[in-house]
């Protein structure tokens, strides 16, 4: 039954997105994007409403059931009656993708799926952070009755009770409605976020750059074993990466269709759910607004920026209000943010910390994808992925079309600012910086990996076009060299 309720929440989110970005009820790229974004939006809204019910009325099914029911029924009805209008999102013009590319992308998807299922079957409760943070909080919310606030008790400060509640709330909600615990609930939640991320990435790159780039990007994401692994481990980093990606993807579409503010509204909603998922999401809300402002002031206009800021604020309002309410009313102090100013100054003036953090960032950028399997460190890619991307860039080069400039700038600046913010957090806040880096830096990179791939594939040229352009260039060079050679021979 838990799965049925989770499916209904996803369907409600899809209905809501269909209401905002109407599409024909048939398989299409537009539908794929709406389904992927909608599933995450539905889960986020359901979790937020559940927390609201808990705080206002306690864990009473008589309240939770109708509230969630109205959301599900209303959103599905809105999606059902929506008439297709507005832009239809299709594959961008470009050369057809070769068959082997489709086959390789399909192989990566199947292997990713097999890996996810294998991991989940072996570890249905997830791994360390799942049972010491996310599923633990879900159990407290579900099993504690009127004392559900025990989930945020300072007595379990080691389990980070200040962390936002999107994932634990969602799992507890599914158990509450189904009146029983099952490990299938967190597994399905993890599955949706992992594979919906691939759906969003493939669809948005497909709309903006075409089929070839989309297939390569999707294969790279699902081929990043660490991404699928962390997803299957039921950590919140993959859901966070989903919301970050969905936010920047919607902003990219906003640039393609500047007169329709609904894309930015959805971007705001996604950014808000990023904040409701993990503390890093709060930083992302600030970062994405700054990134958008910089991109639009450089490539857009002030009136466009102001209009979009309004739409984003409207989207952000509900999830951010829930997050703020949780942070101000329930969350105990955070171990990092409660660092004393005197310690922050001492950390900032410690040159060794800067070097340590810089070295770790450099190593992670080079060896991104490494992972531990049963305690043994395994290389995630046979060849470091940063070198593969570097070679890809060398072969095809960047080619950003006029219409994609503000989109590329938004995503690249957002990813860059997030990395800079995370860098500052590592330098300034933790007392044991080495432990903090060892236990979390790979996941910080992972949170930004889908958005980073989006920025990369929006900026790079399609391989076939790059080859065509290179051939034309060399042909032109040969043609212009011929008369010169003839003139030289005549002389």
């Amino acid at each position: 039954m838990s799965l049925l309720y989770l499916a209904l929440f996803c369907l409600a989110g899809i209905g809501l997105v269909r209401f905002l970005l109407p599409f024909e009820l048939k398989p299409s790229l537009h539908a794929a994007l709406a389904v992927s974004v909608g599933a995450g939006a539905g889960l986020g809204i359901a979790s937020s409403l559940y927390f609201l019910c808990l705080t206002l009325a306690g864990p009473k099914l008589a309240v939770i059931f109708p509230v969630e029911g109205v959301f599900v029924a209303g959103a599905i009805a809105l999606g059902w009656v929506a008439k297709p209008k507005g832009p239809d999102l299709r594959w961008a013009d470009g050369p057809a993708a070769p068959w082997f590319l489709t086959a390789l992308a399909g192989a990566a998807a199947v292997l990713g799926l097999v890996f996810f299922v294998m991991h989940s079957a072996n570890k249905p409760h997830g791994e360390w952070d799942a049972w010491s943070i996310w599923n633990l909080h879900a159990r407290f919310l579900y099993r504690s009755g009127d004392l559900w606030k025990n989930a945020f008790s300072p007595q379990i400060s080691w389990s980070h009770p200040d962390y936002p509640v999107l994932i634990p709330g969602l799992i507890s909600l599914a158990w509450s409605l189904a009146r029983g615990e099952t490990t299938l609930a967190p597994i399905v939640v993890a599955f949706v976020y992992t594979f919906a991320s691939a759906g969003v990435l493939i669809a948005i790159v497909g709309v903006l750059r075409g089929r070839t780039q989309a297939l390569v990007a999707g294969a790279l994401l699902l081929g990043t074993v660490e991404f699928v692994q962390i997803g299957a481990m039921q950590y919140a980093d993959v859901p966070l990466s989903f919301y970050i990606l969905a936010t920047v993807a919607m902003l990219c579409l906003q640039d393609r269709f500047p007169d329709d503010p609904r894309y930015t509204l959805l971007a705001g909603l996604s950014a808000g759910f990023a904040a409701w998922t993990k503390n890093e999401g709060l930083m992302f809300v600030v970062v994405v607004i700054v990134a958008r402002a910089i991109a639009l002031l450089r490539f857009g206009s002030m009136p466009r920026l102001l209009k979009q800021l309004g739409a984003m604020a409207a989207g952000l309002a509900f999830p951010l209000a829930i997050t703020a309410y949780f942070k101000l009313r329930f969350a105990p102090p955070n171990d990092l943010t409660s660092t004393r100013p005197v310690d922050i100054i001492a950390h900032a003036s410690d040159f060794g910390r800067w070097v340590t953090v810089l070295q770790s960032f450099g190593k992670e950028a080079l060896f991104f994808g490494q992972m531990a399997v049963e305690g043994e460190l395994v290389r995630g890619f046979l060849i470091p992925i940063s070198l593969v991307l570097l070679l890809y860039w060398f072969l095809v080069r960047f080619r950003v079309e006029e219409q994609n400039r503000s989109a590329v700038a938004t995503v690249a600046i957002a990813v860059g600012l997030m990395l800079a913010g995370d860098f500052a957090v590592y330098v300034l806040l933790p007392n044991d910086v080495n432990w903090q880096l060892t236990t979390s830096l790979d996941r910080i990179f992972l949170q930004l990996w889908p958005a980073g791939l989006l920025a990369f594939f929006l900026a790079t040229d399609a391989p076939q076009l790059a080859v065509k352009r290179a051939a034309e260039k060399s042909k032109q060079a040969r043609q212009s060299a011929k008369p010169q050679r003839r003139a030289a021979e005549t002389r």
Partner: protein
């Protein structure tokens, strides 16, 4: 693309091998079954202490404490032996009851898998 697919296939084999070989790790179900029917009848008002015969520098000490809390939700579990009821998580074939007694802990229930429920005699 080729590198990606080859990598994931390679790692899939590694992972499959690791899972079939694996006898260690923190098997949550196995851990939960050790607590037997202690898990029944727990209420959110309960707080237990926790002691273990693991060495404090043993990485599994922390994991087992976390798993104990995960297993015993809605009760709260603290790392001290101060509460009236204390969970003793023992691994030796013949657990050292004298060490527990030295901490004023008297075990009154043995769950048979190295898990004991003890009373802290210094709490009235």
């Amino acid at each position: 693309m080729g590198v990606t697919v080859a990598s994931i296939f390679w790692i899939l084999l590694d992972v499959a091998g690791a899972y079939t070989r694996s006898s260690t790790g923190y098997g949550v179900e196995k851990f939960e079954s050790r607590f037997g029917d202690l898990r029944n009848g727990l209420t959110p008002q309960m707080t237990f202490g926790y002691v273990s015969d693991n060495r404090p520098d043993d990485p599994s000490d922390q994991a087992e404490f976390y798993l104990t809390q995960y297993t015993l939700v809605p009760a709260l579990v603290t790392t001290s032996a101060a509460p009236a009821g204390v969970i003793a998580n023992m691994h030796a074939a013949t657990p050292d009851m004298n060490a527990l007694r030295a901490r004023n802990l008297v075990c009154f229930r043995n769950f048979g898998n190295g898990i004991f429920l003890c009373r802290n005699m210094s709490v009235r």
